[in-house]
């Protein structure tokens, strides 16, 4: 899904201002990292389930992307249920709640941007450029899990 960013969409780029630099999102505890990852994957899945008709991407690539996301989410949820039962994770912890809030806000901003631009081509392209940075964060959090 990488490609050439259309030059006409450059002007619209300024309209998109993410709530934060998602790469710098930090998680204090290892157990909270799993929760954060699961949250992020779920949100991405939700975003890319929206109206993609005006995007320049072909349907096969979209489906492949969605199913990959879905598999990872399912595995992570099973892992988290075990963790919850063992009471390794406290859903009430501040740090966990803070992280979850931040993730949710971030994706709400993306969703709003898409809506404002009626899920136009340029809007989707701008979102497409931003989402890979979420994966950088996920990669970072995954490494924290193995430490």
């Amino acid at each position: 899904m990488s490609g050439n960013f259309p030059s006409q969409c450059i002007n619209e780029r300024a309209a998109f201002k993410p709530t934060q630099n998602v790469v710098e999102l930090s998680v204090s505890q290892k157990e909270n990292a799993k929760v954060a990852i699961q949250e992020i994957l779920q949100e991405i899945f939700n975003i890319f389930s929206k109206n993609l008709t005006q995007s320049a991407w072909d349907g096969t690539s979209i489906v492949r992307f969605q199913s990959g996301l879905y598999q990872q989410i399912q595995r992570l949820e099973a892992c988290l249920r075990t963790q919850m039962e063992k009471e390794l994770t406290n859903p009430e912890s501040e740090d966990l709640q803070l992280t979850t809030q931040r993730v949710k806000k971030y994706f709400q901003g993306i969703d709003a941007f898409l809506k404002e631009n009626q899920y136009s081509l340029c809007a989707w392209e701008i979102v497409r450029v931003e989402i890979p940075r979420c994966f950088v964060l996920i990669d970072k959090l995954t490494r924290r899990l193995s430490n």
Binding site: N4, F5, I10, E130, F135, V136
Partner: protein, 498 residues
């Protein structure tokens, strides 16, 4: 009038249009200039080089500007790369411009040809996901069945950041293949260090293997593998590592040393010579003193025996003293030539040859006697010859005795012997038991009679002969011959003369 004006006006428009059309059609290839094309980003370890090709039909000098935007940074204005503005080159280094490694950047090349400004298409690039990682620096060391691979990650062109700083963890793949490309062993692992090593084991010894290492990140699979390095699996033969031969040499010399020590302790090797036993020490001195000859006057004495003829001989039995002048021509002197040392146990044989020691007057007589006795003395000669290996024991040892030739008779010394000083006896017995020659005259004669048939060598003297005071000048006696041949009669045998 209006019709006249309209006519030329229309004609002018027609000319104008045709001229314009002609001009337009005449310049189609020359005027269409294409923007720069084929933008390519060549990135390695976060060093980014953008290159492009000029648009077709560009003949006039063209200047390029490289513009970029960091899309992730909410920017929407093109920025010009400082080092690549108004450049005629077809490449631009954007390492400094793409400083945020996780951003997605877009770049565009603007060409200025005269007054025409043309924009190229946009090239999107995300360094984090798209830069080529590697090649790493690889060092190989061999062991008998393994290879030790040391890998050092390349440096990045991002200021103050290494690959581990950016990616935290990298996956590496070591590919070990045999020289003939038949075996390929990929080894995958991950690292969090800038420099790491890995031992590839279970290899065949003395085989040539080639190794290549590639590094990659989880979100960046673009990698450049290291060049193939080949090594042979064998033990270290480096110059400073010949410890094993040195140890072997030391062990061998130690074993030899212990063996030699054991031999020495066991007495098989003697470093010192055996000291002379104390008991024999005095003997040593005695030996020297015993064997030291007394400085005595030793004279060569030759006693010559001659077979006497009756007629020529005559003697007086009662006279001890002998003088040279009394019987100058009638007596022969007997010289003992020596004796055979080998038969001294059996016999003390004195072989003598007679010599005529007459004065000058009777020298002719002596020669006559000599010649006449030549036949008779043959036997003696033979006997003498048998005892050729005679050594002088009693007399001066240095003088040699040659008893084989009668010609030597003339060279033999003539001298007077005082018989009072002459002793006959067995040299094996002590010299104390000695008797003078004269007193044993009769015994000697008796012996002669009884042993007439005996061989020369078998006779033993019972008397001792002692030359205590050899007086070389007074030899007055003839000595008695112990035994004679069978032919000799008692009367013809030697007699003792004074």
């Amino acid at each position: 009038m209006m019709a006249v004006l309209i006519g030329p006006l229309r004609f002018c428009q027609l000319v104008y249009l045709s001229t314009l059309t002609t001009t337009l059609f005449s310049l189609p290839e020359a005027s269409v200039i294409n923007p720069p094309q084929k933008l390519t980003m060549n990135s390695q370890n976060f060093q980014h080089n953008l290159s492009w090709e000029p648009g077709s039909n560009t003949t006039m000098p063209t200047y390029y500007d490289v513009m970029y935007i960091g899309l992730s940074g909410s920017e929407n204005k093109w920025k010009i790369a400082k080092e690549c503005s108004n450049t005629t080159r077809l490449s631009c280094n954007l390492t400094k411009e793409y400083e945020e490694c996780t951003y997605t950047y877009i770049a565009m090349v603007q060409s200025i040809t005269g007054h025409r400004v043309l924009n190229s298409s946009i090239l999107e690039f995300s360094p984090y996901r798209s830069t080529n990682l590697g090649p790493p620096a690889v060092n190989l060391t061999a062991c008998p069945t393994c290879i030790n691979v040391t890998v050092k990650l390349p440096a990045t062109y991002l200021k103050g950041s290494s690959l581990i700083d950016i990616y935290q963890k990298l996956d590496y793949t070591i590919t070990v293949e045999s020289f003939d490309r038949k075996e390929k062993i990929p080894i995958k692992n991950e690292t969090s260090e800038e420099s790491f090593s890995c031992v590839v084991g279970s290899l065949h010894s003395n085989t040539n293997y080639c190794v290549s290492v590639a590094v990659a990140a989880s979100l960046n699979h673009h990698s450049i593998p290291s060049a193939l390095q080949c090594i042979i699996t064998r033990s270290n033969t480096q110059p400073g590592y010949s410890i094993i031969p040195i140890i072997n040499g030391g062990l061998v010399s130690l074993v030899i040393g212990i063996f030699l020590l054991g031999l020495y302790k066991g007495g098989f090797i003697c470093l010192k010579s055996n000291p002379w036993p104390k008991a024999l020490e005095t003997t040593n001195k005695l030996h020297c003193s015993v064997h030291e000859p007394d400085p005595e006057n030793v004279c060569s004495v030759q006693i010559i025996y001659k077979e006497m003829e009756k007629k020529e001989w005559g003697y007086s039995s009662d006279d001890d003293s002998v003088s040279d002048g009394e019987n100058s021509g009638d007596y022969t002197r007997r010289v003992i030539l020596g004796r055979d040392p080998s038969s001294h146990a059996k016999s003390n044989t004195f072989v003598h040859q007679t010599i005529d020691c007459t004065s000058a007057e009777s020298s002719s007589q002596a020669t006559e006697l000599l010649s006449s006795d030549a036949e008779n003395s043959e036997e003696h000669q033979s006997v003498i010859r048998e005892n050729e290996s005679i050594s002088r024991v009693f007399f001066h040892p240095s003088s040699e005795v040659n008893s084989s030739s009668t010609s030597e008779l003339s060279n033999s010394a003539c001298f007077n012997i005082n018989l009072n000083t002459v002793m006959l006896g067995d040299p094996d017995k002590t010299w104390d038991d000695s008797a003078t020659l004269i007193s044993h005259q009769k015994d000697a004669v008796d012996l002669q009679d009884s042993s007439a048939s005996d061989a020369l060598e078998s006779k033993n003297f019972t008397n001792t002969v002692d030359v205590k005071k050899p007086d070389c000048h007074n030899i007055s006696h003839e000595w008695q011959k112990p035994s004679v041949s069978d032919e000799s009669d008692a009367s013809d045998s030697e007699y003792i003369r004074r």
